[in-house]
């Protein structure tokens, strides 16, 4: 089915360094693919770094909006709110300061608009269409793209809506920094995400001072630069343009496809309801290295030709050198000869008189010839000199060419290595070829161009491998892999899996046959896998799209589709693009990793900046306190720029990327952590109880065996005591953390208007009741154990002392004395530690009692579904909680270690 001609005007805007590079790459690929730019598309870049913009050679100069740094006076006049330290920026562009980027935007706003407006008007005049699709690309870590993206998006949306009467469809692509980047870009990325999430969560129009602060984006794709610890910039730079071009977003309407297809409208429909969530792209490609192979063959054929030619050139240059020598001799000889002839002419002329005849015309002619020859000779001497230099240069050039030949040889070897042992990642697989296969394919290289990927693999008798790398990833569900998205936290660690068990027991989630978590609420919106290759590379029977769809919808997503895209241009590649729409980036609960992996290091870097440094990570609402105040309900003081700025910074610092309703999902997680901790506590207390059960032999029946048994008993008791001592400290800290988590959760729930679903609330209440009951039991046991622990140990020690005291003196050999000394030393340790352990056990009661009251409060909130009260000091707790991880109390007191 050929698509109809596309009339939607498309503008691609790259903001900042990386955004511009990606736009440049898109243009390069587009020109390579189609040879020209479609009339309904325009490409713009906005950058504050001249050098970076200059590097974008594919972008027309007039489409480059390069913003120069204004002088401080202009900066100050335009941005009265801008604090002095941010009036200028270090390094290139915005110096990675988002606040500076916003100030730059304010200075250059009119220029940016004039350029984008002109482009939009040109497109409108050219196509006659009034519908616009705008794609904005930028990196979140820099200063320019991340700071201007939101303002540019809002302003363009408003301008086009007013100008052409139709709201543009806007998609965004944001690239997040890798875990290896410094604090500044990493913190910037979280700042930008917070602001973007804030806008995204406002789906209804919110017009203040003629500016609409609602979400301008229909879809916003987040992409990471990190692939399992490796930088994936190259992959990103390749994947983004390919995604846009192969899927037909650019250039519009050139994609051939059969049946159902994913167009802009379809994609918008799928994204409906998830506009307030992020999206992500995944990319997997299996390729047959035809292009590499052809290049390898070309180079392989070229090298001997070049080598042969260089030998010939060398011989010729050497010939020329010989000639030059002989020519120089000739010239010298002729110089002498000219002198001789000149002399003869002179003497001939001087012989005039009665007895001689001088032919003056002939001599004049001869003289002229000699003159000419003399002149030529002198110029030839120079030419010979030049020629000699040229010959030397040519020899030098030849040596350089030989080096080039070596480079070519190295390139050939590199290609050979890349073909025979490619560096495959989880998202890119290149078919590995043997030396023999490379040789055999060369004989039929012309046929390769016509054959499909599958046919080539068939020719090589490697069909199964072809299906394994192209069809099985869909069949077996591997295609779901996206390095950014972690929807499998259940496999995080042993502690997490215990939470999962508890949550499963209470019916909050279910587990499939492979032990994977199935939780409706945690699923993201849509998963779309687009398979892009030549039609004859597909084998529908092997694809198993239906099975894949049901597997994916069961575990990860609410809806899924596998779409086949016939792209003949990519005959020897089998690409799979995955669109994940409506991702929940936040952690499913305290102590669990966020679903968007990047958040782990972004939050860490962001929290490394103290309040005074936070403005460098933020942009939105600085200088515009009025709309901020109207939207957030936080009052502002007109004219008090510094205070208003601090207020905005404060708001961003505390802003969390989470949907308020999702906070209810934290309740079972925190409760599961409570229940797990209770289990751990019981285990610890059992171990403490066990210490007193040291077997002390009857003092009347002394034997060396009994003495040895007693010493071993005390040694084990001492070890257990040491463990229990450590554990009580850890447990107390753990309970404090859990108590804080509970308090914070209660604080957040109190601000919520929406109550959980009834059945969910019932499950939560059951969990709260169980937790409270367990806690009461524990408190009693702690009370009991702490009261009698020291006495129990004391009694065991006394019994042991009696046994030792009754050892007959005739039995006290040196070995027995050693045993007695050892036993006494262990007894002394036990006596000392028993006091500490008893104290530790007692102290655990404090946080537990506090937790019990928190649980009661939680129960009240859950029962009522909402609450009005504010908890004082909540914000302080919030700050504390973010950096604390839940300790795993079970690590040191596992039952397997009890026998030690």
């Amino acid at each position: 089915m050929e698509k109809e001609e596309d009339t939607v005007n498309r503008i691609v805007i790259g903001i900042g360094g990386q955004g511009s590079i990606i736009v440049n790459n898109i243009l390069r690929m587009l020109k390579f693919k189609t040879g020209k730019l479609p009339k309904n598309e325009e490409f713009l870049i906005i950058d504050t770094d001249q050098a970076s913009a200059n590097a974008c050679s594919e972008v027309e100069e007039r489409k480059k909006i390069i913003l120069n740094r204004p002088d401080t006076i202009l900066m100050r006049n335009t941005n009265r709110w801008l604090p002095d330290p941010y009036l200028s920026a270090a390094g290139a562009g915005c110096g990675q300061h988002r606040i500076y980027g916003r100030a730059m935007y304010n200075v250059h706003r009119e220029r940016i608009f004039s350029a984008i407006g002109t482009t939009a008007s040109e497109l409108r005049n050219r196509t006659g269409g009034k519908d616009f699709f705008i794609l904005m690309v930028c990196a979140f870590g820099g200063g320019t793209g991340s700071s201007m993206l939101l303002d540019v998006a809002i302003d363009i949306r408003d301008w086009i809506s007013k100008q052409f009467g139709s709201e543009p469809v806007m998609f965004g692509i944001g690239i997040l920094p890798s875990s290896k980047e410094s604090v500044l870009p990493t913190g910037n990325a979280l700042g930008a995400m917070k602001e973007l999430h804030f806008l995204m969560s406002h789906t209804e129009d919110l017009i203040i001072d003629d500016k609409n602060y609602s979400n301008p984006f229909k879809l916003f794709f987040l992409l990471g630069r990190d692939l399992q610890g490796q930088n994936r910039d190259e992959e990103l730079e390749r994947a983004i343009p390919r995604f846009l071009l192969d899927l037909g977003f650019l250039p519009g309407g050139t994609v051939e496809t059969k049946g159902k297809w994913l167009d802009l409208n379809d994609l918008q429909n799928r994204a409906r309801g998830y506009e307030n969530r992020f999206d992500s792209l995944g990319y997997y490609e299996c390729v047959f290295p035809t292009e590499k192979l052809f290049l390898y063959y070309d180079i392989e054929d070229e090298i001997p030709r070049v080598r042969q030619r260089l030998v010939e050139i060398e011989a010729k240059i050497s010939d020329i050198r010989g000639k030059i020598d002989s020519q120089r001799g000739e010239l010298e000889r002729f110089e002498g000869r000219i002198k001789d002839v000149q002399r003869e002419i002179d003497s001939y002329e001087s012989a005039a008189g009665m007895f001689s005849h001088v032919n003056t015309a002939a001599t004049a002619d001869a003289k002229a010839k000699l003159d000419r020859a003399r002149k030529k000779l002198s110029s030839l001497k120079e030419e010979v000199f030049d020629l000699e230099i040229k010959a030397s240069d040519a020899e030098e050039e030849k040596r350089l060419t030989e080096r080039n030949l070596e480079r070519l040889e190295a390139l050939k070897n590199k290609l050979f290595r890349e073909i025979t042992s490619p560096l495959n990642t989880r998202s890119y697989h290149q078919i590995e070829l043997s030396e023999e296969e490379i040789r055999s394919l060369k004989r039929s290289r012309e046929d390769l161009k016509k054959l499909s990927f599958f046919e080539i693999m068939k020719k090589l008798d490697r069909e199964e491998e072809y299906f394994r790398w192209t069809h099985s990833p869909i069949n077996e569900g591997d295609i779901i892999f996206n390095p950014m998205v972690n929807y499998r936290h259940s496999i995080g660690n042993a502690m997490t899996s215990k939470y999962i068990d508890i949550l499963h027991d209470y019916g909050f989630l279910s587990l499939d046959a492979q032990g994977n978590v199935v939780n409706e609420e945690e699923k993201f919106g849509h998963f779309i896998a687009v398979l892009s290759t030549r039609a004859d590379n597909f084998d529908d029977a092997r694809l198993g799209g239906g099975a894949f769809k049901s597997m994916v919808t069961e575990r990860f997503t609410k809806d899924a589709d596998v779409l086949k895209l016939n792209t003949p241009a990519r005959a020897h590649s089998f690409a799979m693009y995955t669109l994940m729409i409506g991702i929940q980036p936040w952690a499913p609960g305290p102590g669990l990793p966020p679903r968007l992996r990047e958040l782990e290091w972004l939050e860490h870097a962001y929290s490394a900046s103290d309040f005074s440094k936070l403005p460098r990570h933020h942009s939105l609402f600085y200088g515009t306190p009025k709309p901020f105040s109207i939207i957030t309900g936080i009052p502002y003081i007109p004219g008090a720029e510094e205070k208003n700025m601090d207020m905005v910074t404060n708001y961003w610092r505390d802003y969390e990327i989470i949907e308020p309703e999702a906070i209810w999902n934290n309740v079972p997680i925190v409760l599961a952590q409570c229940l797990k901790m209770f289990d751990d506590l019981l285990t610890g207390m059992d171990m403490a109880e066990d210490i007193k059960n040291v077997r002390v032999p009857d003092p009347e029946s002394y034997s060396i065996a009994n003495l040895t048994m007693l010493v071993h008993g005390f040694e084990n008791a001492s070890k257990s005591m040491e463990k229990v001592k450590r554990w009580t400290k850890e447990a107390e800290r753990g309970f404090m953390v859990l108590k804080n988590a509970l308090d914070e959760l209660i604080f957040k729930l109190k601000g919520l208007e929406k109550a959980p679903a009834k059945d969910k609330a019932a499950k939560m209440l059951r969990m709260i009741d169980d937790s409270s009951r367990n806690m009461e039991i524990l408190l009693d046991r702690i009370e009991d154990l702490s009261n009698r622990f020291s006495d129990d140990i004391k009694s065991v020690i006394e019994k042991g002392m009696v046994f030792l005291g009754r050892i007959p003196s005739e039995e006290t050999t040196s070995s027995v004395i050693r045993h007695i000394t050892k036993a006494e030393s262990e007894i002394s340790k036990l006596r000392e530690d028993s006091m500490k352990v008893a104290k530790g056990i007692k102290e655990m009661g404090g946080p537990l009692a506090a937790m019990l009251s928190a649980l009661k409060e939680l129960k009240k909130i859950t029962e009522s579904g909402e609450s009005e009260a504010e908890v004082e000091g909540g914000e302080e707790r919030k700050g504390k909680m973010k950096v604390v991880e839940m300790p795993d109390l079970s690590l040191n007191i596992g039952r397997g270690e009890e026998g030690e």
Binding site: L295, L310, K316, Q327, A352, A366, K376, A391, N404
Partner: protein, 146 residues
Amino acid sequence: MEPSSIGILIIVILLIIEVVVMLTKLKVDKLLLLMPITGVILAVISFGLNEYRDKILSSLSDSASYAVIYILLAAGVISGLFGVAVWFKGEKEARRLSSAAKSIDSAVAEIESDIRGSGMEIEHFDDEMSGIKKKVEDYESKEKEV
């Protein structure tokens, strides 16, 4: 007029023609013309003596007067021939020198074309090697794309 006078007159005329030719066509040095002119004068004298032998050489015997006449004539002819011979010699030398200059000129031109040829050949090699370099760069950039 006696036949001998006619013969002498022819010789005179020939010598005059020689002088005229040498003067006009061969553009010889004026001094070299002295010889043929002397020859003409001697021949004219000889003609005059022959014509007026009876009056001028009457004192001499016939044989002596003939001897005078023919000696003068012979001297005139020799002068004329000498002038021609000198001219020939000069011309020959001039031609030799001219051809020597020409041969030098053409040999130099040959060397010039040789040198130019070598220069062009080297330029061609340079172009060829730049082409190779460009090809290598093309391969390298292609390698980045594949």
